[in-house]
């Protein structure tokens, strides 16, 4: 597993609304499959039909409070990752979505200032070590609480299952 870089850079897709739920991120009518590439075609379908046409690999989603609430479907993480999203920055997360994200080695950062200082299309950069979010388009900056050691370890190992295997191999 390659070491996790400290910085990530991408274009932002901003959804200011609170409580964007997993039914909106990937509607249940598409849960009859679980292949990432297939799910990706429908990512954010019920909230923004244009998303999938605009999104590029490495992009960020910037969102409001309680992102990913509702159904426990991990398909929500897979759909976003499949669509090219590398990082989600939200004011806060619903717990199962956050858990699913780090279990997949997918970056979910909590930064309440982000929705105030980033507009869709802005270039943003995060430094997960320093806990800094920079809007490269406007020059504005905000701090965030870095990932807990536990979450960082899971993400660095590539997710929960590789993490468990690594621990088992050491034991």
């Amino acid at each position: 597993m390659p070491e996790l870089p400290n910085t990530f850079k991408g274009a932002a897709h901003v959804y200011e609304r609170a409580h964007i739920n997993t039914d909106e991120i990937i509607p249940a009518r598409h849960l009859n499959v679980h292949e990432e590439a297939e799910l990706a075609k429908y990512a954010m379908e019920d909230i923004d039909t244009g998303f999938i046409k605009r999104v590029k690999t490495g992009d960020f989603i910037i969102a409001g409070e309680n992102f990913g609430c509702g159904s426990s479907r991990e398909h929500a993480v897979w759909a976003l990752r499949g669509a090219g999203i590398r990082v989600v920055v939200a004011t806060s997360y619903a717990r199962i979505f956050f858990r699913n994200a780090i279990n997949n080695g997918f970056l979910a950062i909590e930064c309440p200032e982000a929705i105030e200082m980033v507009k869709t299309g802005d270039e943003v950069e995060i430094d997960i070590q320093a806990g800094k979010l920079r809007n490269l388009t406007t020059g504005k900056e905000a701090g965030f609480v870095p990932l807990s050691d536990f979450a960082r370890e899971l993400i660095e190992d590539g997710g929960l299952l590789p993490h468990i295997q690594k621990k088992a191999a050491k034991a």
Binding site: E24, N32, H34, E74
Partner: protein, 427 residues
């Protein structure tokens, strides 16, 4: 320092004397529940890693429920994977079509849920099973895969919120109204990361069926779990179903709660949660009598036998309104059979309802009542997010089975007490 029931269960399962909220523990699991949508990807992950055996087939329960009987070719593939996997793993606790049910309803109904257990399932409504004094929480497929492989899982010990429910529910007001009321007060993230613990004199009037409705919707307030103390009602429910032994945990008097709420249930009225959040609950007297294209009675929230009895009592001798398609979906095969024996299915059929086999069905927009654009549905299910039951332009209203039955008859949102009062006057 005292501990809550949730802290005690998690401590006992992670080999600890005591634990405090915020700690991360690795807890042993007593029951893992598997269904057709989130289990096949978990199995695929395990296969990819070369893990071909579950940790203990006797601690796993499998039932297809979301898209069965198979709604299309792709979901048939999921069910087939689930079926073949459980056979290969020798999992005995399996409920095939004809014997199946929605996982959160069938697991306790068939005696697999015992007080003091730790339970996970790849489904957010796993919290339902906490009504029997268990720690039950919903997880995604990766967690499910880890649980199936190792029999344990990491948990951040949640803070607990205490909800004291006192008094007696008025006629026409049910446990669904209690939980919709609570969510309307604290919001869809009001219990985020927390255990929602209930106690109080009002529980004495609530059957297990009614209690499951309350813990079922913990996730709609963002809760990690919902939990109730074990009492005579829950012990009788368990003992009627199994002779397996169990451990009862109780919160200490000096346990710490992040929040405390007292609710006098005498003051409640029927509640309807307006589109498109479960927290949009309003007393029925305060809202417009919106016309409904569909009424849906079922799901892990309100598809148990008591729910069907309540709906049938109101619907008996009536017809559903023209233009209001009414769909009744018993939560399990056993509920369906009991409803048949008690004559409830006949009441529904005579009223002009469709009665389905057990399935999650249209609750999540799968099938058996998916909504079209601009259509309205009053539903006894658990969430009314945009597009939840079909087209993103459709609108879902959440309410109790009684409110659903009354609404089906008139075709517009209707207070069930109108019908209950008329029935009482006749009697």
């Amino acid at each position: 320092m005292g501990m809550t029931i949730t802290e005690k269960i998690l401590a006992a399962h992670s080999g600890r004397e005591s634990i405090v909220p915020g700690e991360i523990v690795n807890a042993k699991l007593d029951l893992i529940v598997c269904h057709d949508v989130t289990t096949p990807p978990a199995v695929a992950m395990l296969r990819k890693l070369g893990i071909n055996k579950v940790f203990d087939p006797t601690k796993i329960l499998v039932t297809p429920d979301h898209f069965v009987p198979n709604k299309d070719i792709k979901s048939a593939k999921l069910s087939k994977h689930l079926r073949e996997w459980r056979e290969e793993q020798g999992i005995e606790r399996y409920y095939e079509i004809g014997n199946h049910g929605i996982c959160h309803a069938i697991a306790p109904e068939q005696g697999h849920v015992l007080p003091g257990m730790t339970i996970v399932c790849g489904d957010s409504h796993t919290t339902t099973m906490g009504a029997l004094g268990t720690f039950a929480s919903g997880v995604g497929s990766t967690d499910l895969a880890a649980a199936l492989a190792t029999g344990e899982l990491w948990f951040k010990v949640p803070e607990s919120m205490l909800f004291e429910l006192n008094g007696h529910l008025p006629v026409g007001v049910y446990s669904k109204d209690i939980i919709l009321y609570i969510i309307s007060k604290i919001g869809v993230d009001g219990a985020r990361y927390k255990a929602m613990e209930y106690r109080g004199t009002a529980l004495k009037d609530l059957t297990m069926e009614a209690r499951f409705t309350i813990t079922n919707m913990a996730i709609e307030a963002g809760g990690k779990s919902g939990i109730m103390p074990v009492d005579e009602i829950s012990e009788n429910y368990v003992k009627e179903r199994t002779s397996d032994s169990y451990t009862i945990f109780n919160s200490d008097d000096d346990a710490t709660y992040s929040d405390r709420f007292t609710i006098d249930v005498d003051q409640l009225e029927p509640i309807v949660a307006l589109p498109s959040l479960p927290s949009n609950g309003r007393f029925i007297g305060e809202i417009e009598r919106v016309k409904m294209d569909q009424v849906y009675i079922g799901s892990c929230t309100n598809g148990r036998i008591e729910d069907l009895r309540i709906a049938a009592q109101i619907m008996k001798g009536h017809k559903v309104a023209k233009g209001t398609r009414t769909i009744v979906v018993p939560a399990t095969t056993e509920v369906w059979k009991t409803a048949m024996r008690e004559g409830l299915l006949e009441i529904f059929a005579d009223a002009g309802c469709v009665v389905s086999t057990a399935t999650c069905g249209a609750c999540l927009g799968g099938f058996m009542g998916v909504l079209g654009a601009e259509e309205t549905c009053l539903s006894t299910t658990n969430r009314n997010f945009t597009g939840r039951m079909g087209d993103p332009r459709s609108k879902v209203y959440l309410a109790s089975p009684a409110t659903a039955a009354a609404t089906a008859i008139t075709g517009t949102i209707t207070d069930p007490r109108d019908f209950l009062k008329a029935q009482a006057a006749k009697a």
